[in-house]
Symmetry: C2
Subunit: 322 residues, 2 copies
Amino acid sequence: METNSKYPLYSIGVDLGGTNTVYALVDTQGNILKCDSFPTATPTVEEWADILSAGILQMTNSIKRDNISGIGIGAPCANAITGCIEAATDLPWPSPIPLAVMIESRTGMKTVITNDANAAAIGEMTYGAAIGLTNFIVLTLGTGVGAGVVVDGHLLSGRSGFAGELGHVTFPFAADRDCGCGRKGCLQTVASAKGIRTTTKRMLESSALESELRGLDDDDLTPKAVEDAAMKGDEIAKSVYQFTGRCLGSAASEFAAFTDPEAIILFGGVAKAGELLLEPMKQEFDRCALHLYKSRVKFMCSMLKDADAAILGAASLTMMKK
Amino acid sequence: METNSKYPLYSIGVDLGGTNTVYALVDTQGNILKCDSFPTATPTVEEWADILSAGILQMTNSIKRDNISGIGIGAPCANAITGCIEAATDLPWPSPIPLAVMIESRTGMKTVITNDANAAAIGEMTYGAAIGLTNFIVLTLGTGVGAGVVVDGHLLSGRSGFAGELGHVTFPFAADRDCGCGRKGCLQTVASAKGIRTTTKRMLESSALESELRGLDDDDLTPKAVEDAAMKGDEIAKSVYQFTGRCLGSAASEFAAFTDPEAIILFGGVAKAGELLLEPMKQEFDRCALHLYKSRVKFMCSMLKDADAAILGAASLTMMKK
């Protein structure tokens, strides 16, 4: 491992998930050189910080400190401005958590944090589908729906780091769906894993068509199950992704008026459906959008591998800021 | 006039309007030192450029060139990136017009252009209601509805300079209104001068209440006439601004999810109604917004004087970029 350069050659990326914490040593080309993980659910966040910091120090003990740009952490409800996790419902500890300071004080390495969707956007910009783009939106379609919005090369943060909460923009197509935020109509109620399940159940109820999705438990009615069925020609399953894609296209036509993007990139479990989702999305966008944006926005799915995306995005945080 | 400094002390602001072109010499404190104007409707844009350039050269003939940062022009459909006016329907000449190059070649002064709404946003940030703010949206409510969106201190431009077309975001409250863009439901169909007229006519038709607005010609049914009537207690007129304010509040609650703003600032003819508009806007915003933004956004009207706002915003363009 070359460590003679005067400049940072490596950084640490951390993905703090509800189940596991994954951390990795990454080089400036986006190669994951070493990777390790441990269960997130420690009794206290201090213990979690101790385990992570010890792991990082061991992972980097053969590298000069000057060659490491720092530690980047992607986490739910992470506020990039304060360095704190705020009001996270998916983590086992009380919020707010001064995460950046906790890790920086234990490792002596500069530590920055950002929320999952922003990490994904940075990952795409640095190593993925958005290389060379300066105006794009990454929509993360998973348990919830989030967004990282890059305009003029800058990832939007906003007053308190809460820019890009596009999963909570409301639309008529979701007007009858309740969101976990207490409101109705949020994009998240349609384009998340739970949204896919709700749409599937509704379509199964209102149709007499045969479908391999009939009789599946809620837990088994995953985006993957619906996608697999659609790929085999299941009409209900295909309709679910048609509908979801059209909703995303309609939503994207409004988002375009905000930031005039070159591309909108889908990321996360629901986005695995690829063309099943992209084709109706593109059609509906071009039908709905203002003439200034029509036919000028590219729609694509993330090109980063599952496990790597969050890590790479987080790792690139400190490389960008050095 | 002090002209011995090594640094720019002055700039030129130009407001290219459909009727008149106003240009002024402005100092770094935002004082308008000299101002002149001429009718925009010259036979060709070359003649217009000749008149403007001659006027600017005369206006600045006692000032060292090094002390002038340049010329900033606010104009409809101006693309800040290309320096061209694109597809402007309010100007007497065919588009596109390479405006920045035309003025720069005639004056020898660095010239930048931007659209009206962006000029207003920069004006507010530099001299107006947004001093000290780094996250805000200026909504210009005039013949059309536009927006200048500032996030993290940066005015959003987007891929082709068409970020912030918030007048063309669509909403259920306008679903039955046709927009000049060929679509339905745009915010502009409610919050523009024409929107106020449409709302007033609809309310007059569906109500038996007495109103001083009854019988007015379309040309006389201006935002100012409705505002004056409302201030005198006219119930229909008050309802018009109540409705318009609630629509703006609902729209703003969606906009907040995009950029997490500190403030939303209203500007232009319709915004003259002040509290008539701000109070219902604020109430509806706090009713509709995601908890992250509720009660955290300030709503205000522009504090810049009518004629000065566009000029100051345009003038500050080159000061920002020096």
